[in-house]
């Protein structure tokens, strides 16, 4: 009875405090958008002109020029090779990294931080930036591309695999240790079977992503279909660029279909 007067007369979805919070978030968002809009360095007439420019560009692309198709398809195969080799190597390299970056299997604190450092530095630097570095080292070509994709993939695979190792059931490990199994046997018979599904899932997912990434490596000179695309765009050969874009689209869609199929079969 005493608390009667504190109950609001009118039903409201939010308390005044919540309303204030929502308003503050809204205000901050608006301020950020206005700040970005007013201070960004764009020439506004170009913005209003953009749709027309895009229509013009796509107009130049039809009909796609397929006269160069055999060499495009050949380089497309090379692109697939880059993605596959890089994924295959990265999978093996990331195994020990995942092992030392997982809290429950790492030998000591120093290796844990080493593992985490490898994962973070690999993951934070984008493939293209890795490619820039490796093109400077290895020279333009496929090797730079493979190494770049590999470096980026180690972090991705290692992180997800490390999390999978951290989530394993401890009991098989304890059971094997109780029988006096060596460290190696514990890994092979207690840890590996538990993380195997995740391992395949992550490897397939990364292969799918790498397929996409390997299509752009050529733009910084690291091999693959990107070289042809860059060449076609630089010479304003838009019909050929359209063919390349369509072949990239079909490659990526095909890759997604293949990886979905593999995922269903293996896991």
């Amino acid at each position: 009875m005493v608390s009667m007067d504190t109950t609001p007369e009118v039903w409201a979805r939010y308390t005044p405090r919540e309303r204030l919070q929502r308003f503050a978030v809204f205000l901050v968002t608006m301020v950020a958008i206005v700040w970005a809009l007013t201070s960004i360095d764009v020439i506004w007439p170009w913005v209003f002109d953009a749709p027309q420019q895009m229509v013009d560009l796509f107009g130049r692309m039809v009909p796609p020029d397929v006269s160069n198709l055999p060499s495009i398809l050949w380089i497309l195969l090379e692109t697939v090779n880059i993605a596959t080799i890089a994924t295959a190597v990265a999978v093996f390299v990331s195994l020990p990294v995942a092992y030392i970056a997982a809290q429950n299997t790492t030998p000591n604190a120093a290796t844990l931080w080493l593992g985490r450092f490898i994962l973070v530095s690999s993951r934070s630097v984008n493939t293209i930036i890795w490619a820039l570095l490796f093109v400077a080292i290895f020279g333009p070509g496929i090797v730079a591309g493979i190494v770049a994709i590999m470096f980026r993939s180690i972090g991705f695979i290692g992180k997800l695999l490390g999390e999978a190792i951290e989530e394993i059931d401890r009991r098989p490990v304890e059971a094997l240790e109780a029988t006096g199994a060596s460290r190696f046997k514990v890994i092979v018979y207690a840890i590996v079977p538990q993380v195997m599904p995740t391992f395949w899932a992550v490897a397939i997912l990364r292969w799918d992503i790498n397929l996409r990434e390997s299509t752009v490596l050529g733009l910084v000179g690291a091999g693959g279909i990107g070289i042809i695309l860059q060449g076609a765009i630089d010479t304003f050969n838009w019909p050929e660029a359209a063919t390349v874009l369509l072949s990239i689209l079909s490659l990526v869609v095909l890759g997604e279909v293949v990886s979905a199929w593999l995922r269903k079969r293996i896991i």
Partner: protein
């Protein structure tokens, strides 16, 4: 009969072996052979110039010598680049999210008629299939160098992700509320606003914050091909063999990415 089985204990192996992943031996060894053959073939097919690679390590040493210690002398340029990346990311997130809401509705199987559903799905597939760098090159050619190309690129990139996730969320909504709205005679738009939006709103906000983080990261990359932001600064530094500045930029990019990942993770954890 039991005596016969007892007399042939050799039939059962006395040591245990792990069952193979693929039970059928022909398929198993066939698959292993095929994969090995492919990998060997692919490795031999690579046009590798080993001489160039062996020279590469000397070059690597030179690059790293040039890169250490990282130089923050031109930090003004660095900060400008980052602010531009941030602006690009904010505008692209706003544009991308606004655009992906109608596309997500188009691509939700339970709300759209078949032809519109396929159109929506096709838009999402196209937006997702092209790496942002490819999209960026095309936009740079179409609308010129600078942040505008970056914003347009990242809008496409955002649509590919946000619309896909949102469409999946819309397909999972509780249909009862839609039926309730329809049964009282509400129009199409009121049905969407009062029965669909409230169900997808938390997901939408979470996705937007994730996409802002993701766009900030991608804007570091699309700048390399001329779409503005910190990526352009990095590409310029690299192109001028200004490796110590390039290393400084890379370090700051990594730090900002880690920070934004942590912040967006925290916010999303509190919202969901």
């Amino acid at each position: 009969m039991s005596a016969a089985t007892d007399s042939s204990p050799q039939k059962w192996p006395d040591s245990w072996r792990r069952p193979p992943l693929i039970a059928n031996p022909i398929l198993r060894y066939g698959l292993i052979t095929a994969v090995t053959t492919y990998l060997v073939w692919a490795c031999f097919m690579l046009p590798v110039d080993w001489q160039r690679v062996s020279q590469g390590f000397a070059r690597a040493a030179r690059i790293f010598n040039g890169a250490f210690p990282p130089s923050f002398v031109r930090s003004g340029l660095l900060i400008d680049g980052f602010l531009e990346s941030l602006k690009i990311a904010i505008l692209a997130t706003v544009g991308g999210v606004l655009l992906s809401i109608p596309i997500a509705f188009m691509a939700a199987k339970n709300l759209s008629p078949k032809p519109i559903y396929f159109l929506g799905r096709a838009l999402i597939i196209i937006a997702r299939s092209f790496h942002p760098v490819i999209v960026a090159i095309i936009f740079v050619k179409a609308v010129g160098f600078g942040p505008l190309a970056g914003v347009l690129t990242l809008i496409v990139y955002s649509v590919g992700f946000v619309a896909k996730m949102l469409a999946e969320k819309i397909e999972e909504i509780d249909w009862g509320q839609v039926e309730a709205m329809r049964s009282v005679g509400a129009g199409y738009v009121s049905t969407l606003i009062y029965s669909v939006f409230p169900q997808i709103m938390p997901r939408q906000i979470g996705l937007s914050i994730y996409q802002l983080d993701s766009n900030l990261r991608a804007s570091a990359v699309v700048g390399i091909v001329g779409a503005g932001g910190i990526g352009s600064t990095l590409a310029n530094a690299f192109g001028r063999y200004d490796y110590d500045f390039a290393l400084a930029i890379t370090i700051v990019i990594v730090a900002v990415i880690l920070l934004s990942e942590a912040v967006s993770g925290q916010i999303r954890k509190r919202i969901w």
